[in-house]
């Protein structure tokens, strides 16, 4: 997948790159990686789930995990120096809130397209909530599918759910930080990227 292709996708999905401010654009390869370290950026408008995820993520012992928390992109310029190379950007979307989705969508503009080569994933909470309009889930799916990113679902209400969501993020993070031999972020994303499922309301067998 070439970078041009990614740009193309971005345009097709209506994410306008007119707000292309060089300085605040987050880039995947502008810095050197740390030794046996992985950096993950959790972007969540509501700043709720990211905290519990962060606490669980840093518990990992096999590699040193650094977590950066953000409400939205772009990230403040003054942290540019201290900020390490981000290996994985996770957009956390609470499906019960339209704002949460819109914020994630808007934040995508400040992401270097290079990230879309396997270093972005979406994590959705409250997908099983009865009050969620199906259109919103579809919209999130479409977004993730258009960007070829994995779409993970998480049960943020239960401790088990948080633990497991953390594990899943870690397994992606390790690959995207280059810590898994024989696997690259792009390879993993080709296996996991989201697709828009057709309407499965009526599984027709005839």
């Amino acid at each position: 997948m070439s970078r041009g292709f990614v740009y193309n996708i971005l345009f097709r999905t209506g994410i306008v790159l007119s707000v292309y401010i060089r300085m605040s654009l987050l880039k995947p390869f502008s810095k050197l990686p740390g030794l046996n370290a992985a950096n993950i950026l959790l972007v969540e408008c509501e700043e709720q789930f990211q905290k519990s995820l962060a606490d669980a993520l840093v518990e990992e012992t096999a590699v040193t995990v650094y977590v950066r928390l953000a409400k939205s992109l772009p990230l403040p310029k003054e942290n540019e120096e201290s900020r390490p190379r981000i290996d994985l950007v996770v957009f956390i979307i609470n499906l019960t809130s339209e704002l949460s989705f819109q914020s994630a969508e808007a934040s995508l503009k400040y992401l270097d397209p290079g990230y879309l080569l396997g270093k972005v994933c979406f994590m959705v909470t409250n997908a099983r909530n009865a009050s969620v309009p199906t259109e919103r889930l579809d919209a999130v799916r479409k977004l993730a599918a258009a960007l070829h990113c994995p779409l993970l679902f998480a049960e943020d209400q239960t401790p088990d759910g948080v633990t497991y969501a953390t594990k899943r993020l870690l397994s992606i993070l390790k690959v995207s930080a280059g810590l898994v031999p024989m696997a690259t972020a792009l390879y993993l994303s080709s296996l996991t990227s989201c697709t828009v499922p057709p309407d499965i309301d009526q599984p027709s067998f005839d």
């Binding site: 679902f153 209400q157 594990k167 031999p181 009526q202 599984p203």
Partner: protein, 749 residues
């Protein structure tokens, strides 16, 4: 018994008689005297009545009895206002009702009093609100109540209140047959706008397959065009659709949420209190009828759909021998023999979910020809799963324990029936799309392994897409779990096939409950799709997890089954494992994996050989593609070369490396690295063998094992360690054993 009749007992049985007589068309027949005739015909609720009587005797001289008598006898047109007597008696009845609940007879009297409007309609709501049943509600009373609706003088709000009351106590009505008989009459009220939602709910509870008719569907559609897509109409229609899909052709969104609300508000707290207070009594009187379980579940069920109802029918009637309908409630059946005897006239319980808890009921379900029982159960199940698991609202944690038990129950039911429910299948397809991979994992994977064969055209989008994403983003334990689940799924498909293929050759569509029409080639396509899919998961999974030996073990489990599809399950299909599985298994560091691979290759050979023989015997037998033989030969040759001949890097083989590169690696005798002596999995055995063989030798020279004598001893030693797979593989592939350097033979295509 007659001797000890108290006044109230006599009185009550009279009332019931009166009600029955009235029903049969003799209104206002007054109080017939208690005769032997009426005693003998009054068989219903006998045991209950006795219990009731005992209780009543203790509260001798209960003024509420006199109050009830007043309401029974009161003349039509008696004024209400300023009538202290009515007030006093009503208060008495209310006191009894709110404290202990009303007996079935009292309910009959009070309902009749209210609905007949003998004293106008001002008292109606008050009376209706105090109709708290202590045990059951007599069906006759409800039927009479409904019939009064037709008279048309009752204010709409009271009519609504009445229907709400019927809905609230629906489970306590002692039989439903007469209510079903007047289904058409009840149906006629749907056109009244205010009543419609409640009538729809009542109809929903009463609907059975025979009742669904074109004209009713048409009427509902007509209403829908008038009132819009109202949830209550949709829900009733969707039930009709379940029973008769051919009559309701348009699509109904299956996502419709909980549509029928609980209308039990006016009675809820009172019912709750009465049930709590009478807890023991209710339970004991019900245990007469229900063979199982405590009464505590009943209250809970009102709030949670996942609570599996206790199998019970409130029909307390002893089996009536001479009556015309002779329906036997399922709960009264105690043994299989009884079940078989009454097969054709079994009354299904009102709560279909209760079937899940009873093995006899499941046996009935399994062999009954009429589809409607399964349809009803499926409908209930689909609703319960959807409401409580898929869209549980918030607070996922609070009902997880309940969900767990429910799913376990469902799983054991499916194991009992040895097939999945279509509603749980539909639920899974949706759930997989929002699953986090951890919630109720063992249960979900268990249900998943039960799903019936999916046509290959659907399998990708329904199953593979969501599973693929979950698989690759989850931990290695999830990966193992999923492979095991798919293994079970394949096993069930193969068993299913072998059972139905035996019955009649190719047409395996004649399957009992699934509506899939499937030909043999369609089935083969699905199986092939599944095996390919696991192959894809396995290759990439092993790569990502660094050939995790646990994962490898689960994958080899899968291929142990796949390699035997022809001989064990009679499916003419042989699929080879992909290189991504074969090579990691061959180069695995644990001897067990290599041994299992050898066994799998041996079974492949046996299967392919017998397939070939059969192909020669019967001309029109299936054809195994040259590609499969080619793959098999390649693998076998490579395996033999590698393990036996110490020729790892032969040109034309699966693994090739440039000569210079190999020299650069500075590995001495690199070609021997994976023979049976130097293979990392077996090296410890080789050293052990070496020490045993030449105990005095200080420096170990493993190459010396390769001489023909020690080599055969070494093999013997290896096989004696339990590596049967390896033994079988060697025996079947290597014929002559004079020294080193034999070629493994290969199957010709």
């Amino acid at each position: 018994m007659c001797l000890c009749l108290t006044e109230c007992f006599e009185y009550f049985s009279n009332v019931e008689m009166a009600a029955q007589l009235n029903l049969s068309g003799h209104p206002d027949s007054g109080l017939p005297s208690l005769t032997d005739q009426s005693m003998s015909s009054r068989t219903s609720n006998r045991s209950l009545r006795v219990a009731e009587k005992e209780r009543r005797k203790n509260e001798a001289e209960d003024p509420s009895v006199l109050a009830l008598q007043y309401f029974y006898n009161v003349e039509a047109g008696t004024p209400v206002s300023g009538n202290d007597e009515v007030e006093r008696n009503l208060v008495l009845v209310e006191q009894v009702a709110y404290r202990n609940g009303l007996s079935p007879e009292a309910i009959s009297i009070m309902l009749e009093f209210a609905m007949s409007l003998r004293m106008g309609h001002s008292l109606c709501p008050r009376v209706l609100k105090c109709l708290i049943p202590v045990t059951v509600v007599p069906q006759e009373a409800v039927v009479r109540g409904v019939s009064w609706l037709g008279v048309g003088k009752i204010p709409v709000s009271t009519q609504v209140l009445f229907i709400k009351w019927v809905l609230t106590v629906f489970d306590m009505i002692d039989a439903k047959d007469q209510l079903r008989a007047i289904y058409g009459f009840i149906f006629s009220f749907v056109s009244e706008e205010n009543l419609c939602p409640f009538i729809c709910h009542l109809l929903y509870l009463l609907t059975s397959k025979q009742i669904v008719r074109v004209f009713r569907v048409r009427k509902l559609l007509e209403l829908q065009s008038k009132l819009g897509r109202q949830p209550f109409l949709l829900n009733l229609l969707s039930l009709y659709k379940v029973f008769c899909p051919e009559l309701v052709t348009f699509s109904i969104p299956s996502q419709s949420k909980s549509v029928f609300k609980n209308h039990n508000m006016p009675w809820k707290s009172a019912l709750f209190a009465v049930q709590k207070r009478n807890g023991s009594q209710v339970a004991s009187s019900i245990s007469l009828a229900s063979a199982s379980k405590d009464g505590t579940n009943r209250r809970k069920r009102k709030r949670h759909h996942l609570e599996i109802p206790v199998l019970r029918s409130v029909v307390n009637k002893e089996p009536q021998t001479e009556t015309r309908r002779r329906l036997v409630p399922l709960v009264q059946i105690q043994s299989v023999a009884e079940l078989l005897e009454n097969m054709d006239h079994i009354e299904l319980p009102a709560q279909m979910g209760s079937l899940l808890g009873s093995s006899l009921a499941l046996q009935y379900l399994d062999c009954v020809q009429d589809e409607s029982a399964l349809l009803r159960l499926n409908f209930w199940l689909g609703y319960a799963l959807h409401e409580e698991l898929l869209f549980c609202g918030d607070g996922a944690s609070q009902n997880s324990e309940e969900s767990l038990q429910f799913l376990n129950k469902l799983l054991s039911t499916q194991h009992f029936l040895q097939e999945g429910f279509s509603s749980s299948e539909a639920f899974l397809y949706k759930f997989l799309n929002v699953w986090d991979g951890s919630l109720l994992r063992p249960q979900i994977l268990g249900l998943l392994s039960n799903i019936p064969v999916i046509p290959s055209s659907q399998i990708e989008r329904l199953l593979f897409k969501p599973l693929m994403q979950l698989f690759f983003t989850s931990s290695v334990f999830f990966k193992c779990g999923l492979i095991e689940c798919l293994n079970n799924m394949l096993l069930k498909w193969l068993i299913w096939h072998s059972v139905y293929a035996l019955e009649d050759d190719l047409d395996i569509s004649r399957n009992s409950h699934t509506s899939i029409n499937m030909t043999l080639s369609g089935f083969k396509d699905s199986v092939m799709g599944l095996v390919d899919f696991v192959g894809r998961l396995a290759s990439s999974g092993l790569q990502l997890e660094g050939c995790h030996s646990l994962l490898l073990s689960f994958i080899l489990d899968f291929y142990t089954m796949v390699c035997d599809t022809f001989l064990k399950y009679g499916l003419p299909l042989v699929v080879m494992p992909p290189p991504g599985v074969f090579y990691p298994a061959l180069f695995a560091t644990d001897p067990v994996s290599v041994d299992r691979l050898a066994f799998i290759m041996y079974r492949y050979k046996v299967n392919l050989t017998s397939a070939k023989i059969q192909e020669k015997l019967t001309d029109q037998a299936f054809h195994i593609s040259r590609q499969t033989f080619h793959e098999f030969n390649n693998y076998t040759v490579y395996m033999v070369n590698c393990l036996w001949n110490s020729k790892m890097f032969q040109p034309g083989m699966g693994v090739q490396l440039g000569e210079e590169l190999l020299l650069k690696s500075n590995v001495p005798q690199y070609w021997t690295s994976f023979d049976l002596v130097h293979h990392p999995a077996f090296m410890s055995y080789a050293i052990d063998f070496h020490q045993k063989c030449w105990p005095g030798k200080k420096d170990i020279d493993l190459d010396s094992i390769k001489h023909s004598k020690p080599w055969s001893w070494y093999l013997e030693y290896l096989f004696s360690q339990g590596y049967d797979g390896l033994a079988l593989f060697v025996q079947s592939n290597i014929r002559a054993r004079q020294g080193n350097g034999q070629q493994g033979d290969s199957l010709s295509t």
